[in-house]
Subunit: 235 residues, 2 copies
């Protein structure tokens, strides 16, 4: 039997109309759709793809435990990968969907690592939250010879501070519970006026606000921070 193909399918930042034509085609034709999902609540990737998934598609949910240790997540990857591999061995194509891009801070990477020696895998890139957040702020992210950095918020404060100091534009992702600590770093660098907070970019709940407008104690959800240090003089 000819094995199926595994597609790593990027779905973009949240608005279903920002999926690519290629992702639309594959969602419409691939027999098995797999996605990451939190233990409670819905899968963000599944929600973006919902308008495009046929009624008769087979679905595989990879439920990612909330534990901070690695072992429970690794068991979840192993278990879902076994189901996906069975479908591929049976000649069925599988699309593993990711919000954003499958090769940028995604769950798909762990599936890819486990299956890349055994099956044909095709990566379909997607629109990332990096440029979606910049669009929400109505300001270009980087131009000319600007240095752009993506810094995950869990990095320690000294590392964040040193890296921000030597960049022109900075995206801080994975903000979550680190919001207040990152805010202090930005305050200490004197960059509060340069910082925008973007929530739920490209969806109906999109909000972009200057950091200076976020009240003490407020903890924005599903957030990307952008620090604009470069010139705004685009002549």
């Amino acid at each position: 039997m000819i094995k199926g193909i595994l597609y790593g399918l990027g779905l973009g930042p949240g608005n279903p109309e920002l999926i690519t034509v290629k992702a639309w085609r594959l969602l419409s034709t691939v027999e098995v759709i797999a996605y990451p999902k939190p233990p409670t609540g819905e899968s963000f990737a599944r929600k973006i793809a919902a308008p495009f998934i046929p009624d008769d598609a087979t679905e595989v949910a990879l439920i990612i435990p909330m534990a901070s240790e690695r072992a429970p997540a690794q068991q979840a990857y192993d278990s879902a990968v076994k189901t996906i591999a069975d479908h591929l061995e049976n000649g069925k194509d599988v699309a593993f969907i990711s919000n954003g891009d499958p090769f940028l801070y995604s769950t798909f990477m762990y599936v890819h690592e486990r299956l890349k020696q055994r099956f044909e895998i095709e990566i379909v890139p997607g629109v990332t939250s990096l440029t979606a957040a910049a669009a929400a702020t109505r300001r270009p992210l980087a131009a000319r010879n600007d240095i752009l950095k993506v810094l995950p918020a869990p990095l320690d404060s000294d590392t964040l501070k040193a890296q921000i100091a030597t960049a022109d534009s900075v995206i801080i992702n994975k903000v979550g519970k680190h919001f207040n600590r990152v805010r202090v770093v930005i305050e200490e660098l004197g960059l509060v006026e340069n910082t925008q907070i973007v929530e739920n970019a490209t969806t109906e709940y999109e909000v972009a606000r200057p950091l200076s407008q976020i009240k003490d104690g407020e903890q924005p959800y599903f957030t990307t921070m952008i620090i604009y240090k470069g010139s705004e003089n685009w002549t």
Copy 2:
């Protein structure tokens, strides 16, 4: 008369199937399509959009001079912007198309800067060459708390070296004539084995090769470099 809307439309890295559903809809309905174009040869953005542009669309080419001084380019921006503004004043919507994303190292930023006070502008993000190049190398770009940087090749060698040294993954764009100088920087850092060269990502001419396979004197065209320094241990 109600003024038209200006769309900053990202078209993705090159494969027409990687445009978004939203870009497809707008290309099909907006009356005026504008794009950057070199003095000789075709517009890359226009080429990506070609399958989706109606026969009766009005087209505006912004011809970007090859001069290294700023003044000729600024005159070209001013001139094209005047034509675009006339269409918008006459109530026609205009889509200014960019390969990649309109807010990431694009020509559109200069149009945006000149018109943002006068007209309604909507940014439609696109798939960038950053993740398209990673897909071509079949290796994830960044995961977990990896520091990702985008460094334009025209930066001086000392800056490149210091920035690469403190990153996990690096994209070097705008490589062009800087290829050999950047290669020396990477050699001096001992990172030749960590570096992939990607040409024409997602198109029929896509090639991804290790830097170690590029012969002396060879000057790859339309190139993105990726330096992978982070762990490959995605368990």
